[in-house]
């Protein structure tokens, strides 16, 4: 079942256009990656989808077609966005960050949900009353993911979770996200430069170059594609991972 179907004709910052005719589809419960180099437009794509910047085109999410989106409306519709750099609300405690994640919820299960996240990420539980900004990068990434899932979304947008993290920590983050996709049925759209790693965890992927989708396919197709191997998988042309 299609969860997100976005067709973005143009999107950018003032006179600078970044994305042209980008079409992305995500089905319910699947994990999809958008690969691309620095400046390809990956972050811009996620920002357009969650309503942080305006675009021309159409986004159909959860059965509702929209040509204009606002971040808080998208959260209410079931989309959560972990921004690049993790978006930690630094002056709030870990627990308050999680409560902010549940801001749109009206049910009474928020406290129980927070406890479940402490079980999943014990480090967060140990630091629940600590200022979130004082945690390590990996811990803040876990917190960002937990905060996004606190809204009980059907789709999580994940902007370069590997940024600034040690390889081992990055792998753990991806392991946890894959586990969440499996256990909660939440779909994930992740953008990454680290193609090698990301393709092990997703079913499908898109390759974004200079604001256009140049290739799309299953993870194994992309791994086998020689031009992608050269550009993103540490092939002979360039090593990026």
């Amino acid at each position: 079942m299609t969860l997100l179907s976005a067709s973005i004709q143009r999107c950018g910052y003032g006179p600078v256009n970044v994305l042209s005719n980008v079409n992305v589809v995500v089905d319910a419960g699947e994990a999809v990656v958008v690969l691309g180099a620095n400046g390809a437009g990956k972050t811009t794509l996620l920002r357009a989808l969650s309503g942080m910047i305006p675009f021309t085109g159409k986004i159909n999410f959860g059965g509702v077609a929209r040509s204009k989106v606002a971040p808080d409306a998208m959260v209410r519709a079931g989309m959560a966005h972990v921004p690049q750099g993790r978006g930690t609300i630094t002056n709030l405690t870990v627990e308050e960050n999680l409560r902010v994640g549940a801001y749109t919820r009206r049910d009474g299960d928020v406290a129980a949900d927070i406890e479940r996240w402490y079980e999943m990420f014990p480090r967060l539980g140990e630091r629940r009353t600590q200022q979130a900004g004082s945690m390590s990068g990996g811990e803040q990434q876990m917190l960002a993911i937990a905060r996004a899932f606190m809204s009980r979304p059907s789709l999580v947008l994940l902007d370069e979770p590997s940024l600034g993290l040690a390889p081992l920590v990055t792998r753990e983050v991806f392991d946890r996200v894959a586990e969440l996709v499996r256990t909660t049925g939440t779909a994930v759209l992740v953008v990454e430069q680290n193609a090698n790693l990301a393709l092990q965890f997703v079913g499908r992927g898109y390759v974004l170059e200079s604001g256009e989708i140049v290739t799309a396919g299953t993870a194994s197709e992309l791994q086998a594609d020689t031009s992608i191997r050269e550009a993103y998988l540490g092939g002979p042309a360039e090593a990026t991972s």
């Binding site: 808080d72 609300i89 809204s151």
Partner: protein, 294 residues
């Protein structure tokens, strides 16, 4: 010696008013990263509403509530129609400060137009009674002013700490982008923050006006001293605003009684104190190190 303590009592009760205005400035600074020059005049109009209600026979405490509602609506309206469309404080801080200075003038003129420019009597809410301890006379109004300051501060802390809207306000102050991505309606939170600041402006005016007279100049001097209080306290701390306000009240009321040349320029000690604090501890006494939002 009892004269000295007498001046301290006066200084503390005046300082409580500066602290109240400084708290409203801090609320707006934390929410929008903006120094709101129009805060005094927003408070002025809210205070005129209190006075007007009282003139029409409404008891002062109820009049104060009406003034707080009026101040809330005015603050919220200013943010929504004048400040928010003028740009993002992160990218256009100067433009926005100019907007608030413009609002200062417009609101001040509007108050003069509606209520005239003569000075009116504003009754003290806690009455004219007083008692004396060891030769120091303390008015019920003076005690009341300080008590109301602390009650107001406790109420604000309770809102910030224990309510969902308070959590949202602190979240937006810390990271507006992430707050929006978590579903917090950021612009509505900013409007509410300005509303709260406007609402508590009525309290400051209600306790300043009995001393200074109810007229359109009421908040001009208070605003300068409240900026001083805010700077000393550290821009983004409510506790700092309170301590800063009381310190500024003490200094500007006590020092000029003993230092002759200060009688002609009573604001000078406050300015010197600001300079000293900024030199020694730029983040103020209670401010967080990183004052600008990033």
């Amino acid at each position: 010696m009892s004269a000295f303590f007498q001046y301290c009592v006066i200084g503390l009760s005046n300082g409580a008013v500066y602290a109240m205005v400084a708290m409203s400035l801090v609320i707006i600074y934390r929410a929008t990263g903006l120094l709101n020059f129009a805060q005094g005049e927003t408070s002025l109009i809210a205070t005129f509403v209190v006075w007007e209600a009282h003139e029409r026979g409404v008891p002062l405490p109820l009049g104060l509530l009406i003034g707080m509602v009026a101040g809330f609506l005015l603050g919220a309206l200013l943010q929504r129609v004048a400040v928010q469309p003028a740009g993002d404080p992160a990218t256009a801080p100067l433009q926005l400060v100019i907007v608030t200075i413009g609002l200062l003038l417009v609101l001040n003129n509007a108050a003069g137009l509606i209520w005239g420019n003569e000075s009116n009597v504003f009754d003290p809410m806690f009455g004219p009674s007083s008692f004396s301890i060891g030769g120091v006379t303390i008015g019920a109004q003076q005690i009341g002013t300080v008590a109301v300051l602390f009650a107001e501060a406790l109420a604000l802390v309770a809102v910030f700490r224990f309510t969902k809207i308070g959590l949202a306000m602190r979240s937006v102050a810390s990271n507006a982008e992430s707050s929006g991505l978590s579903g917090i309606p950021v612009s509505r939170i900013l409007v509410i923050s300005w509303g709260i600041a406007g609402g508590i402006g009525a309290i400051a005016g209600t306790f300043a006006a009995p001393n200074l007279g109810m007229d359109a100049t009421l908040f001009l001097k208070i605003l300068v001293l409240s900026f001083a209080a805010m700077t000393i306290g550290g821009f983004d701390s409510l506790l700092g605003a309170i301590v800063g306000g009381l310190v500024v009240g003490l200094i500007t009321d006590v020092l000029p009684r003993y230092v002759d040349w200060l009688k002609e320029m009573p604001l000078a000690p406050a300015v010197l104190l600001i300079l000293a604090v900024l030199l020694v501890r730029p983040q103020g006494l209670f401010g967080s190190q990183q004052v600008r939002r990033v």
